[in-house]
């Protein structure tokens, strides 16, 4: 049935901004405030899409192209990710690499727009971002390689839609190691604490925020929306590694969505309890993720 195939992308497109709301609400609860409404991100996006954009004179067509490419690439990536036991729209051997590099393409264009403004401020953010991603990509790919070896499948659909309780008891430790490693990657890629503070606007501490400093209006809306979808997709992958499924499609989908929300709460908790790491220590934590992934791979291969 076709509806089964598009329900995942549909959910991700519709529910993604809700994640930001959940995270912010959790942080507010920890701080003792009431916090923003859960649907605040939707209101923000609606406001941004109706605004006009201001472009600096030093920018070129790349600056206008970047956010559009970013959003379209991420929407394309939603076609690759399975969730809740249902297969993805497009699935073929090795699509996990395409998945990782679609994000890479998005990052590339974000960095290009940042450099295009000619401001050293954004250049600094761009260089930090690229350095961290150089460390997160291996961790992510090696971790998924371990899962792929276990599940004997080279496609995301095969890897993530098949976690079940029998597999869990068989190789539980490996799943946990990969999940932990992918969690660290998740925090890094989505610019969450302890890697990056999404609320800061101080010169020396921004990484992701600084790259989009010059974007405004609809462009900023595209970028924010794309970031939300990216977070949703990575959560789905993480949840797919851990959560077992039991056959009934509706239960599985609702379990998956609920798990993604719980993950968002967890991220909120982590953000509230940890301070941002010193910049020199961030590569260390990313190397820990790498080591864990490699360890998981070793354990599977022996």
């Amino acid at each position: 049935m076709h509806i089964e195939k598009i329900i995942n992308p549909l959910l991700s497109l519709v529910l993604a901004p809700l994640l930001f709301g959940i995270i912010n609400r959790t942080k507010a609860l920890f701080a003792g405030r009431t916090g923003q409404p859960l649907l605040q991100s939707y209101y923000d996006l609606w406001k941004l899409f109706r605004k006009g954009a201001v472009y600096s004179k030093t920018t070129s067509w790349v600056f206008r192209l970047g956010p559009i490419v970013g959003l379209s690439v991420v929407i394309a990536a939603t076609a690759l990710v399975p969730s809740g036991g249902l297969p993805a729209i497009i699935a073929f051997d090795g699509d996990v690499i395409l998945f990782a590099y679609l994000f890479g393409l998005m990052r590339f264009f974000t960095v290009l727009t940042a450099l295009d403004t000619g401001s050293s401020f954004e250049g600094m953010g761009a260089s930090r971002e690229v350095m961290f991603s150089a460390l997160t990509e291996p961790a992510f790919l090696v971790g998924l390689a371990a899962i792929s070896k276990q599940t004997h499948s080279l496609s995301l659909t095969g890897m993530l839609a098949v976690a079940d309780t029998a597999l869990w008891s068989h190789i539980g430790p490996v799943q946990l190691l990969v999940a932990f490693s992918v969690f660290i990657v998740f925090l890094a890629e989505n610019s969450r604490m302890p890697v990056d503070d999404p609320n800061t606007h101080l010169e020396l501490t921004m990484i992701h925020e600084v790259m989009v400093l010059d974007n405004s209006g609809a462009d900023l809306g595209f970028i924010t929306y794309a970031a939300a979808i990216k977070m949703w997709l990575l959560s789905t992958v993480l949840v797919g590694i851990l959560v077992p499924h039991n056959g009934n499609a509706w239960i599985d989908i609702s379990t998956a969505v609920a798990a993604v929300f719980i993950l968002a709460v967890l991220v909120g908790v982590v953000e509230s309890s940890m301070a941002r790491l010193k910049l020199l220590h961030v590569p260390q934590i990313l190397l820990i993720a790498n080591a864990l992934s490699i360890l998981a791979l070793i354990l599977v291969l022996r």
Partner: protein, 217 residues
């Protein structure tokens, strides 16, 4: 496989993770706590390795290991740390990032080595011997590449842990008395080293072994 295999596997993986943490962390206090955890895991492993029901001797030995390595050694070391008034390791010869990335590769080599040796396996997991070699290598690495005297003592403790895991993995018939003698030696060794570090600190006002280089030739 049975529940036992999974349990042994989990403990062993935790053991490997403690080694990673030791190689990657610069805070001496955290290293000591990790070694305490390693000692406790060692005690648990000692009981799990035994085929069949554990004898009363084995339970006592395991309790002794947990007590000594998990509680008493870290206590002694933290006291020495307090006397020294030092919190962090200085930048070692091989950086933390490099050691973190190298360690899984070393683990691969150890797994290969473990497969080469046809040890009489009385145990429930094939990971035990490689992890023993890996721990020994980590211990040696800590002794050689770190600059503080206290880290060298920690490296020695990790070395002893690794050798102990190895001893538990081969079906030896060392009587409990000798095991206790070995534990006692480790205890006295740590004690002696702690006192030595205290004296060194008093005389030199630092404990960087890198700077202990008057005797040459």
């Amino acid at each position: 496989m049975s529940f036992m295999t999974n349990l042994v596997d989990t403990v062993i993986i935790l053991f490997i993770l403690t080694n990673f943490m030791l190689l990657g962390s610069s805070s001496l206090r955290r290293c000591i706590r990790v070694i305490a955890l390693q000692g406790i895991l060692l005690g648990i492993l000692a009981i799990l390795m035994e085929n069949g029901t554990p004898t009363i001797h084995l339970i006592l030995l395991s309790a002794a290991i947990i007590c000594l390595k998990g509680i008493i050694f870290p206590f002694l070391l933290i006291r020495t740390l307090r006397d020294l008034n030092v919190q962090h390791e200085v930048e070692p010869f091989v950086g933390y990032g490099t050691s973190l990335v190298l360690s899984p590769l070393v683990l691969v080599v150890c797994i290969w080595l473990g497969s080469q040796l046809s040890l009489p396996m009385g145990v429930t997991s094939s990971l035990v011997a490689p992890v023993a070699f890996f721990t020994i290598t980590c211990g040696l690495f800590l002794i050689v590449s770190r600059k503080k005297a206290l880290t060298q003592v920690l490296g020695y403790l990790v070395l002893e842990n690794g050798i102990y895991v190895f001893g538990a993995s081969i079906a030896t018939i060392q009587p409990v008395l000798v095991e206790l003698g070995i534990l006692l030696d480790a205890f006295v060794a740590v004690f002696v080293m702690g006192i030595a570090i205290y004296h060194i600190n008093r005389e030199f006002e630092h404990t960087d072994v890198d700077r202990l280089n008057r005797l040459k030739g």
